[in-house]
C-alpha cells in the first residue's frame, strides 16, 4: 500500500463522521441486544403463563419487539455497508 493511500485510510478512521458512525453502530447494537434479552425473557414468561389475557399481552409485546428488532437489524446492516464504503470526503 502506498503511503498516500495509507494516509487517506488513517484520515478516514480518525474523521469525526466516521467516529459518529461507529458510535451509532455500537449504540444500536446495544439496544438490539437488550431487546433480544427482553424477548427471551418474555418467551419464557409466555410459556409459563396460564391467564389468557396475560398471554395476549405478552404475545403482543413479543410481536412489537420482533418488529422493532427487524427494523433495527435492517438499520444495523445499512450502517455496516456504509462503514465498508470509503469516506467520500477522503477518497
Amino acid at each position: 500500500m502506498k503511503a498516500e493511500k495509507m494516509l487517506a485510510k488513517l484520515k478516514d478512521i480518525l474523521s469525526a463522521e466516521r467516529q459518529a458512525q461507529l458510535e451509532k453502530y455500537a449504540s444500536l447494537k446495544k439496544v438490539l441486544n437488550a431487546l433480544r434479552d427482553e424477548k427471551k425473557k418474555l418467551e419464557k414468561e409466555l410459556a409459563s403463563e396460564t391467564d389468557e389475557a396475560a398471554q395476549h399481552e405478552i404475545a403482543s409485546r413479543l410481536k412489537v419487539i420482533s418488529k422493532q428488532r427487524k427494523k433495527g437489524l435492517k438499520v444495523l446492516h445499512e450502517l455496516k455497508e456504509e462503514r465498508k464504503r470509503p469516506n467520500k470526503k477522503n477518497p
Binding site: S27, K30, V31, L35, S60, R61, V64, Q68
Partner: protein, 606 residues
Amino acid sequence: MLRKTFLPAIFLLLAYGFTVSADFKTITAGVAIFLFGMLALEEGFKTFTAGGLEKMLRAATNKLWKSMTFGVLTTTVMQSSSLVSVITISFLSAGLLELTSGIGIIFGANLGTTTGAWLVAGFGLKVNLSAYAMPMLVFGIVLVFQQTKSLKGAGYVLAGLGFLLLGIQYMKEGFDSVGQTIDLAEYAMTGYPGVLAFAGIGIAATVIMQSSHATLILILAALASQQISYENALALAIGSNVGTTITAIIASLGSSTDGKRLAVAHLIFNTVTGLLAIGGIYQLMAAVEWLSRHIGIAGDNYTLQLAVFHSLFNLLGIVVMLPLMSVLVKFLKKAIVAEEIEIERPIYLSGGPGDIRDAAVEAVRKESIRLYDLAAGVIVDGLSINRDVLESEEKVKRVVKKSTDVIDEDIDDLYERKLKALYGSIVEYVINSRGGYSDGRLKEELNRLRQAGQHVIEAVKGVKHLRKNLNRFMRSDNRFTMKEYNRLRRLIITVLRKIEATRMSASESKSALSLDHLKLEIEEKTREFGKGLDDLIRKECIDVQTATSLMNDISYCRETCWDLVEAGSVLFSAADLDETVAMRTITLSEDEIAEMMENPNGEAAR
C-alpha cells in the same frame, strides 16, 4: 343581610302602595312597562351589535371627538346610556377599544341620553302615545315570532319602543289622576336642602330602576301634572344622572381591568357633573331661562326647560372634564392596577438560555416533564376523574365506573394559564438556545423536546373536545352511551398509567421502546370501539346523532393517547443520548403499527 331584605322590602312597599292608591298602581305599572320596553329594545339591539357595531366602533372611535360623537349618536338612537356604557365596557374588555376612546363614548352618551328628555317633553307629553304604541307592539310581536334573526331583532326593537311609549302614557295618566286627588307639590322643598334631598331621591330611584331614562320620564310626567316643583325636578334629574352609573358599575364587576376603569370614569364624570350642577343650580336655572327665551320655549313650559337644563349641565360636565381627560386616564391606571393573571412560570429555565449546553437540554427536559405532569392532571380533571387515579393501584375500570359526577373544573382556564404559558416559555427558551449550538444532536434533542411539549398540548386539546360531549352524556340516562364514554376514559387513563410505569422503570435503557406496545394497544382498542359502535346503532341502543358524536370522540381519544405516548417516549428515556438516538431509529411509526394490525401474524420473531 341588606341584600336579603332589600327585595322583600320593595315588594311589601309596592303591595302597600297598590292597596292604598290605584294611581300608584298605574304609575308603577307604567314604570314596569317602560323598563320591559328597555329590555326588549336591548334584546333587539343585541341582534344587530354582533358584527355591525364592532366594525363601526373601530372606525368611529380612533379619535376622541369621533368617540364622543359616536356616544351621542348611539345613545340617541338606542335611547339608553346604560346600554351604550355596558356595550362599551364589553368592547373594552374584549380589547377592541382604548380606555380613552371608551371614556369619550361615555362622555358622549351622557349628552346623547338628554335627547330622551327633549323627545318626551317636546312631543311625548302632548299627544296620546298609546295610539302609536299599540300598532308598534302588534307589528313588533308579529316580527318577534319570525325565524330570521334580523326580523326578530327588528321585532324586539319595535315592540320595545311600543312598550316604552305605553309605559310613558301610563305614567302620565297616573300622575294626572294623582293631581286630581292629592297635591304632592305640598312636599316640595326649597333651597339647597331641597336640592340635596331630591338629588338623593333621584339617585335612589335610578339605582332601583336601573334606568335614568325611566326616572327622567317619571320626573317629566310628575312635572307636567305639577306634582313636583320645577326646582325639585331639576334636582331629581341631577340625581338620576349620578344614579345611572350603577348599571355600568354592575356590568364592570365581571369585566377586565379596563372595563372597571371605565365604570369608575363614568362614576367620576357623572358625580363631578352632578356636583357642578348642584353647586351652580341657580346660575344654571338663569342660563336655562335665558336660553329658553332665545330658542322660543315659553316661560311656563317647565318640562322643555328641564330638557334644556339636562342638556346644559351634561354639556358643562364635558367642558370641564374634557381638558382633564389625560389626568383622569392617568389616575385610573394608577388607582385600578391590572390584576396579574396567575400563570404557570418555568422553574428550570431560569439560568438563561444556552449557558451550559448539556444543562440547557436537561433544563428543557425537566420543564417539559413538568408540563407533562400538569397536563396529565388537567386531562384527568377533564375526564371527570379524581387525580389520585394516577397513583392509585385500584383497577382503572372500577375507578372510571365510580366516577359518575362531572368535575366542573375550568379546563380552558387551566389550559391558558398553566399549560399554554409554560409551553410558551419552553418554546422561547429552545428558540433562544438553539442558535448557539454546534452539536447537531443537542439541537435535535431540543427540537424533539419542543415537539414533545407540542404533543402534550395537543393531548389536552383532544380532551377539551372530548369533554364537551362527555359532560353532556354523563348527565344523561342512556347507559349504552355512558358505557362507550367510560371505555374512552378507561383507555386514556390506562395510557397515562402505563406511561407512568415506564417512567418509573426508566432505569432500563429500553424503556422508551416499550411504549410502542402501548401504540398497538391504542390502535386495537379504538378499532374495537368503532366496531362496537356499529353494533349499537344496528341494535338501536343509540341514535345516529349520538353515534356521530361518539365517532368524533373516539378519534379525539385516539389522538390524545398517541400524543401522550409520543411525548412520553421523548421525555421518559433514561438512556444516554447515543442510545436514545439509536432507539428512535427503531421506534415504530403510526404506519408500521397499522401494518401490524392489518397483518397480525406476519412478523416472524427474530
